[in-house]
C-alpha cells in the first residue's frame, strides 16, 4: 500500500513541466485560437521529441510501455498548460485501444503503433457519449464506435462539419462516415470490452486535466490577490478572499487521491474501475467548477475580461465539465455500485475488489 510516485515518475513530470512552461505559453494559445486548425505543428514536434507520443506504446512497438498512472501526471500538465495538441487521444487512449486489439488486427497494430510512437500519426476518437469528435480535422485516423464495434477510418473517408465551442481551443466536428468490413477492427463483443476500457481511460484523462486546470486557476488567483490592492492592502489578506480559495484547496486535496486510485485501478483491471474512475471524474468536475467560480470572484472585474489569462483555463474547465459523460452518467455508475443489493459496504472495503 503506497500512494507515492517513484523518482522516475516525478523526474518525467518535472521535465515535461519545464518544457511546457516555456513552450506552451498563454500567448501561444491565444494565437492558435485565431488559426484555422487551432493546432501547431511545432507543438506536436515538441511533444514527439519529449517522447510523449511513445509513452504508453508497448516496448515491442518502439514505445516506452508506461502505464496509466504516468499518464495521469502528464494529463495534469496538459490541463495546467492548456496544451492544444491531440496528445492524449493519440498516445494514451488511442494507443491503448489499438494495443488491445485482437490478433486479427496484428498488421494494423504494427503500422499504427509505430507511427504513434514516432509522432507520425494523430488520432481522434468518436464515441456515442460525445455528440461531436474533437480534433477530427487534424487526425490521420479516426477510431470510431459503431454499435460497439471498433472501426478505424482515415480522415479522407469522413465528412466533417465544424461546431464552435465556448473554448476556442477545442475544435469539434460532426462526423459522417460509412462503416464497412474494411474499416472494422473488432466486432461488438470484443469491442464492448475495448470501448469500456477506452471510455474509462478518456474519463480519467478528463479528470486529470481538470486537476491540472484547478491548480492553474488557483495559481493565477493567488498571484493576482497578492498583487492587487484595495482599501490599502492586498486583497489576498481579506478573509473572504482567503476563504474562497481555501475552499477550492480543500476540495482539490480530496479529489486528487481519488484520481490516483482510479488510474491504478484502470491499469490493474480492478473490478471497480468504472466506479473509481467516475468518482474521480465527479469529484474533479465539482472541484473545477467551484475553482472557476471562486477564482473569477477573487479577480473581480478583471476576471471577466478577455485580456486576463484566467479565461483560457476557466473556459476549458466549463467545456470539459460534460465531456465523456455528464454528471448524471457518472453518478449512475456510482449508484449502480453503492445501491446494488449485493454490495458490501463497510470501512474495510476501500481497496477491496
Amino acid at each position: 500500500m503506497d500512494f507515492t510516485f517513484t523518482e522516475d515518475q516525478l523526474a518525467l513530470r518535472a521535465n515535461v513541466r519545464s518544457v511546457f512552461m516555456k513552450e506552451v505559453a498563454p500567448e501561444l494559445l491565444r494565437e492558435l485560437w485565431e488559426t484555422d486548425t487551432g493546432r501547431s505543428a511545432e507543438l506536436w514536434q515538441l511533444v514527439t521529441e519529449q517522447g510523449l507520443t511513445a509513452l504508453s506504446v508497448p516496448e515491442e512497438y518502439g514505445g516506452l510501455g508506461l502505464a496509466d498512472i504516468d499518464w495521469v501526471l502528464m494529463a495534469q500538465e496538459v490541463g495546467y498548460y492548456g496544451l492544444t495538441e491531440p496528445l492524449i487521444d493519440t498516445a494514451w487512449v488511442g494507443a491503448a485501444l489499438i494495443a488491445a486489439l485482437p490478433e486479427s488486427a496484428a498488421a494494423f497494430k504494427d503500422v499504427w503503433l509505430a507511427r504513434i510512437a514516432h509522432g507520425e500519426a494523430k488520432l481522434a476518437i468518436g464515441h456515442p457519449l460525445n455528440p461531436l469528435v474533437e480534433n477530427a480535422h487534424v487526425a490521420d485516423l479516426l477510431l470510431l464506435n459503431h454499435r460497439d464495434e471498433v472501426h478505424a477510418v482515415p480522415r479522407g473517408q469522413v465528412t466533417l462539419t465544424a461546431h464552435a465551442s465556448l473554448d476556442a481551443s477545442r475544435r469539434l466536428f460532426a462526423v459522417e462516415w460509412t462503416p464497412s468490413e474494411a474499416t472494422r477492427l473488432a466486432d461488438a463483443e470484443v469491442g464492448r470490452t475495448l470501448w469500456a476500457d477506452a471510455l474509462n481511460r478518456s474519463v480519467l484523462a478528463v479528470a486529470a486535466q481538470l486537476s491540472g486546470l484547478v491548480t492553474r486557476v488557483l495559481d493565477l488567483a493567488i498571484d493576482y490577490t497578492a498583487e492587487r490592492k484595495q482599501f490599502g492592502k492586498p486583497i489576498g489578506s481579506f478573509q473572504a478572499v482567503k476563504h474562497l480559495l481555501a475552499d477550492v484547496a480543500v476540495e482539490l486535496e480530496f479529489a486528487k487521491p481519488a484520481l490516483l486510485r482510479a488510474a491504478v485501478s484502470l491499469a490493474n483491471g480492478h473490478s471497480k474501475t468504472g466506479l473509481h474512475v467516475s468518482h474521480a471524474r465527479l469529484a474533479l468536475a465539482d472541484t473545477a467548477t467551484l475553482a472557476a467560480r471562486h477564482t473569477m470572484q477573487v479577480h473581480g472585474a478583471m476576471g471577466y475580461t478577455w485580456e486576463l489569462d484566467l479565461q483560457i483555463f476557466m473556459k476549458r474547465i466549463w467545456a470539459l465539465a460534460a465531456v465523456w459523460g455528464d454528471k448524471a452518467f457518472h453518478l449512475q455508475r456510482v449508484a449502480d455500485h453503492v445501491l446494488a443489493s449485493d454490495t458490501v459496504l463497510d470501512p474495510s472495503q476501500t481497496f477491496a475488489a
Binding site: L129, N130, P131, T161, H163, A164, S165, L166, D167, R170, L172, K229, Q230, F231, F238, A240, V241, R293, M296, Q297, G300, A301, G303, Y304, T305, W306, E307, Q311, M314, K315, W318, A319, A321, A322, V323, D326, K327, A328, F329, L331, Q332
Partner: protein, 387 residues
C-alpha cells in the same frame, strides 16, 4: 396588505402589452456591443420614446407617464414577456436622468433630459478606476479648475457603454488635496472632447461592453458639473441608490429566464431527469425568481408609502446575481455535452443563448460592487455588526 392590481393598473398593463405586440422587432437586434447593434438599439429607444414608453416613470412633460414603481414593475413584466430589446439607454434613463431631476439646475434639465428621453444622447458610466474598484473612494482622476473649465487627467475603467456612447458621467477629484470621498465632483463629459481616448475592454465572450477611458488635458465647461463642487460623492450615492438599482435589475428579467429554464427542462426532461437533482434546481430557480419579484413589489410598496431606502440594494444584488448563476448552472446541467456549444453555431439554434447567458451571469457577483462588499454592507448596516 392588498396583493391585487387596481383597474387602472390592469388597463396600463393591457395598453403596454398591446403596444409591444405591434412594435417589438420580430428578429432580435444584434448585440449593442457592436456598432451596428448599437445603432439598431438607439433606433429602438426612439421608437419607445415615440410611444411614450422610453421612461414611464418620468414626468409627462418630459415625454414620460409619471408612473409609480408598481406601474414600472408592470411595464417591465410586459417588456420582458414580449422579449423586447435590452435597453442601451439605461444609464441615461434610469441613473443619470433621475439624478439630474434631483440635482440639476433648470438649465441642465432643459439641456440634457429631453435628449436622454429621445435616445439622442446615450450615456456611459465613469465610476471605477484601475485602483478604485470595490474601494470607489480611492478615485484619483483629477478635474482641476482652470477658469470656467475643468481640466481632466487620468483614467476610468469598466465604463459601460463607453465604446459607442455620446457622453460620460462620473466622479472626478476636483480638490487635488482631498482624499477618500471628500473633494469629488460629479461631471458630465462629451466623449468627443479632444484628449479623450476610449479603449474597449473585451469580455469573456469576446464582446466589448466596457471600455477604459483615458483623459489627457480634457477641457470641460464648469456648467457640466452636477451639484456643488466637492459634493460629488453624495450625488453619486443618489445615482447608485436603491430606487434606480431596483430599476436596473427589475425582477421580470429573472422571471423570464426562469420561465425559459422551465421550458428548457420540459423539452429535455427525459435526458435531464437522469440527474434527479436537476428538477429541484429548476423548481428552486423558479421560486427564487418569484421571491425576487415579491420582494421588489414589497419594497416598492414601502417606498410609495414614504418608506426609507434600506439595505435592499445590497440584499438584491446578492440575490439576483446568485440566482442568475443558479439558473445558468441548471441550464448547463440540462444541456450536458451540448452546453459548451456556442449559440452562433446555426445548428445549435435550439440551445438558444444559454451559454452567452452563462458567461454573462459570471459577472453578476462582481460588478456594481462585489458580493463580498455587499455582505459587509449588510452585516454592518442591516445587522449592525461592528466595522
Amino acid at each position: 396588505m392588498e396583493l391585487d392590481y387596481t383597474d387602472k393598473q390592469r388597463a396600463f398593463r393591457a395598453e403596454i402589452r398591446a403596444w409591444l405586440a405591434t412594435h417589438v422587432p420580430k428578429q432580435p437586434l444584434p448585440s449593442f456591443d457592436t456598432e451596428e447593434g448599437f445603432k439598431a438599439h438607439r433606433e429602438w429607444e426612439r421608437t419607445l420614446f415615440e410611444g411614450r414608453w422610453s421612461m414611464v416613470t418620468w414626468p409627462t412633460e418630459l415625454g414620460g407617464r409619471g408612473c409609480d414603481l408598481i406601474e414600472w414593475l408592470i411595464f417591465e413584466e410586459e417588456y420582458w414577456r414580449a422579449g423586447a430589446p435590452l435597453r442601451v439607454n439605461q444609464n441615461g434613463v434610469f441613473l443619470l436622468g433621475p439624478t439630474i431631476m434631483d440635482y440639476g439646475t433648470e438649465e441642465q434639465k432643459q439641456r440634457f433630459l429631453p435628449r436622454i428621453a429621445a435616445g439622442d444622447d446615450i450615456w456611459a458610466q465613469g465610476w471605477s478606476e484601475p485602483n478604485a474598484g470595490s474601494d470607489m473612494a480611492a478615485i484619483r482622476t483629477k478635474a482641476i479648475r482652470d477658469g470656467d473649465h475643468y481640466v481632466i487627467n487620468g483614467q476610468k475603467t469598466w465604463s459601460t457603454r463607453a465604446v459607442w456612447a455620446d457622453w460620460l458621467f462620473g466622479l472626478f477629484r476636483t480638490d487635488p488635496e482631498s482624499s477618500r470621498h471628500h473633494g469629488l465632483s460629479f461631471v458630465l463629459v462629451p466623449l468627443d472632447t479632444p484628449g479623450i481616448t476610449v479603449r474597449p475592454i473585451r469580455q469573456l465572450n469576446g464582446e466589448t461592453g466596457f471600455a477604459e477611458v483615458f483623459f489627457d488635458d480634457v477641457r470641460v465647461p464648469v456648467e457640466n458639473r452636477l451639484g456643488d463642487e466637492g459634493a460629488g460623492w453624495s450625488v453619486a450615492m443618489a445615482t447608485a441608490g436603491f430606487e434606480r438599482g431596483l430599476m436596473l435589475r427589475s425582477p421580470a428579467r429573472f422571471q423570464a429566464t426562469a420561465a425559459a429554464l422551465v421550458r428548457l427542462y420540459q423539452a429535455n426532461r427525459a435526458h435531464a431527469d437522469r440527474d434527479p437533482a436537476i428538477r429541484n434546481a429548476v423548481l428552486d430557480a423558479w421560486l427564487r425568481a418569484e421571491a425576487y419579484a415579491l420582494a421588489t413589489y414589497r419594497t416598492a410598496s414601502r417606498l410609495i408609502q414614504g418608506g426609507e431606502i434600506g439595505a435592499e440594494a445590497s440584499t438584491n444584488k446578492i440575490f439576483w446575481s446568485e440566482l442568475d448563476l443558479k439558473m445558468h448552472d441548471a441550464a448547463q446541467a440540462i444541456l450536458g455535452a451540448h452546453g459548451e456549444l456556442v449559440a452562433s453555431v446555426p445548428r445549435e439554434g435550439a440551445i438558444g443563448s444559454w451559454i452567452d447567458g452563462f458567461l454573462f451571469a459570471q459577472a453578476g457577483p462582481i460588478y456594481a460592487g462585489t458580493n463580498e462588499i455587499q455582505r459587509n454592507i449588510i452585516a454592518e448596516r442591516l445587522l449592525g455588526m461592528p466595522r
